[in-house]
Amino acid sequence: MDYLLHIAILSSIYSLAVLGQNYASGYTGLISINHGAFMGIGAYAGAILLKWYGVPFPVAFLAAGAATGLAAWLLSFPLLKLKGDSFVLVSFGFSFIAFNLFLNWRGLTNGALGLKAIPGPELVNLLDNTKIIFLAILLALILITLWGLHKILQSSYGVVIRATRENQKVTQIAGHCTDSYRRSVFVLSGVITGIAGLFLASYISTIDPTLFNYHLSVLLLIMAILGGLASLKGSIAGATLLIVLPELLRFLGLPNSILAESQQISYGLILILLMYYRPVGLFGTYKI
């Protein structure tokens, strides 16, 4: 039973992160491979406050969102000047820079040693089995995010950001300052992903920089594309599938030596087949 809860919690954390990723990449065309870094920033901001300053969880929650939002806001200035391929590549570059910062800013992040024993939300200890409450909080958070994103995307704001996704120049000609829309989308998507990072940190209670290197950013993008760009339930489906799939592989008893490599090769294959046959993914409505 605990194992199921464990997988459900991991799936919800990644679903939340992929919702953030999809809000930027699927709905606004900002195909960014750096949301893994945002998860890292949220995780470290929250973990440092929780562990060393013993702040209550809600304060760390706000701090994680604020720190990631600020990072997204700062990054948006160089990034939003770019379009298409160069945008993707520079965002990929940022995930390397962020990884280096986590690794080398020893004073703040304790470097490669990582942070240990990060406390979880206080509510969790009401029941002896802490996982149930943890999952409840996460599901509530996902529902709120879904409601919020749905409301935004159905509103005229949603129409404008999808218009900027299609063609920035035409939307500017129609009288919208596309850069300010793209910036606010990028910041909000960063905040959502950062908060998912905080929950990951407080759930597995020990983090180190290798958790947030470029592999995570690539995984989040694959989840968004597999689930379907510009689709909220697609984001959740994509995240859950790519969390449950590797755990299932544990039961198949593949010879361990080729387990991780074959898992990675299947990711690569998924990507190619998707891009070839069904770029919109499972539930997507937008083809990059």
Partner: protein, 372 residues
């Protein structure tokens, strides 16, 4: 929403059917380690050490031993997943595991919560010390071994240190620096950090050259990094005496360093080659991908665990108490005695030096005979 519940349901069916084995006929022991990825060679050797023990002693209290291996790719999140699976699905009470310190630290919260013994053969980071009272480890903490390296370095005037920014190397570096600066008020002339993935040391070695250091400590995560460092140092004609740590030896090191490895020293928790059973173990084991000590320690971990279960049965609290009270004993990998933190610090590091083996012309590391 209902679409993604389906896979979860399927999973639970698979899970429940496997779980309900009674106390009866099998003793299950879990294993968590890096089967693949960069640290794959460590996982391979420690797994083989455990297999070797249970091939020789297949049963405990007359019951068959079942080993369940889980890959954690040297990553705390997968270690947590592996531990959760072992504890909840396979309902193991004992896990040998966490080779990389990040794995042990990732699995510890799960095993602590379910009161499952976690005994790690080779995690050496000082952070593991207070990871939990069900957590034990066979390998002395870097804080102890680091001291031996620092003492060796103090024989020289101008000390240079190059460290790779990984969990093992940085922890080791901190204990060496701590001992040098606090205990001996000696500050190194060069103290540089390098990135984990690239390995071009020439520019940093230039700093070592300019600082005219006469001893260079190479604290790296994998043998290959030290190998490249030694090669480039030789090319730049650096005369400083190079010291490595226990991760220096390994066939990767030899491939890169080749003849430049002559005279390179390293501080390692060494097995005593002279003992007959160690030689016998090496013969049976075959070729080593990682330092020999790693497989010896995992063999010892299996041995200690088997004795504990034999003595007090398959109950984690009883095993925990037995391990704490266990009198000191001599394992293949060296003396074993657990202090109140579950640490086995009864073994200091010893120094080995690279000497040219006349027969093969290859460089082999032997214990420095004359004690300093």
């Amino acid at each position: 929403m209902k679409k993604f519940l389906l896979p979860l349901l399927v999973l639970s069916l698979a899970a429940c059917s496997g779980g309900e084995q009674g106390e009866s006929d099998v003793i299950k022991i879990g294993y968590i380690g890096p089967m693949t990825g960069d640290a794959g060679s460590y996982g391979h050797d420690t797994k083989k050490g455990i297999d070797l023990y249970f091939q020789e002693h297949p049963t405990i209290q007359g019951k068959k031993v079942e080993l369940i291996y889980e890959d954690a790719i040297c990553n705390s999140q997968s270690a947590a997943s592996a531990a959760t699976k072992l504890v909840n699905i396979d309902q193991v009470k004992v896990i040998i595991g966490g080779q990389c310190s990040s794995e042990t630290l990732g699995a510890a919260p799960v095993t602590e919560q379910h009161k499952v013994i976690l005994i790690s053969p080779v995690s050496s980071s000082p952070e593991v010390r207070d990871a939990g009272d069900y957590v034990f480890r066979m390998y002395p903490s870097d804080a102890i071994v680091g001291q031996t390296l620092a003492e060796e370095a103090l024989k020289y005037e101008r000390i240079a240190i190059i460290t790779e920014s990984t969990d093992y190397a940085e922890a080791y570096h901190d204990s060496v620096l701590h001992y040098l600066v606090q205990a001996q008020e000696v500050t190194p002339v060069v103290d540089e950090i390098v990135q984990p993935n690239t390995a071009d040391f020439k520019t940093i070695l230039q700093k070592v050259q300019n600082a005219k250091a006469d001893v260079l400590l190479s604290i790296m995560q994998t043998p290959v990094k030290s190998g490249i460092l030694v090669k480039q140092a030789a090319e730049l004609g650096i005369t400083a005496q190079i010291y490595g740590t226990d991760t220096l030896a390994g066939d990767d090191f030899e491939q890169h360093a080749k003849n430049a490895a002559k005279g390179v020293k390293m501080v390692i928790v060494a097995e005593d080659d002279s003992r007959a059973e160690v030689k016998e173990f090496k013969k049976v084991f075959g070729n080593f991908q990682a330092p020999v000590i790693f497989s010896l320690k995992s063999y010892d971990a299996a041995h200690v665990l088997a004795d504990a279960i034999e003595a007090v049965g398959y109950d984690s609290d009883a095993i925990k108490q037995w391990l704490y009270d266990m009198p000191g004993r001599e394992g293949l990998g060296g003396p074993i005695e657990f202090d109140e933190y579950g640490e086995n610090n009864s073994q200091a590091g010893s120094v080995k030096v690279g000497v040219e083996d006349p027969a093969t012309g290859r460089i082999v590391f032997e214990l420095l005979r004359e004690e300093p």
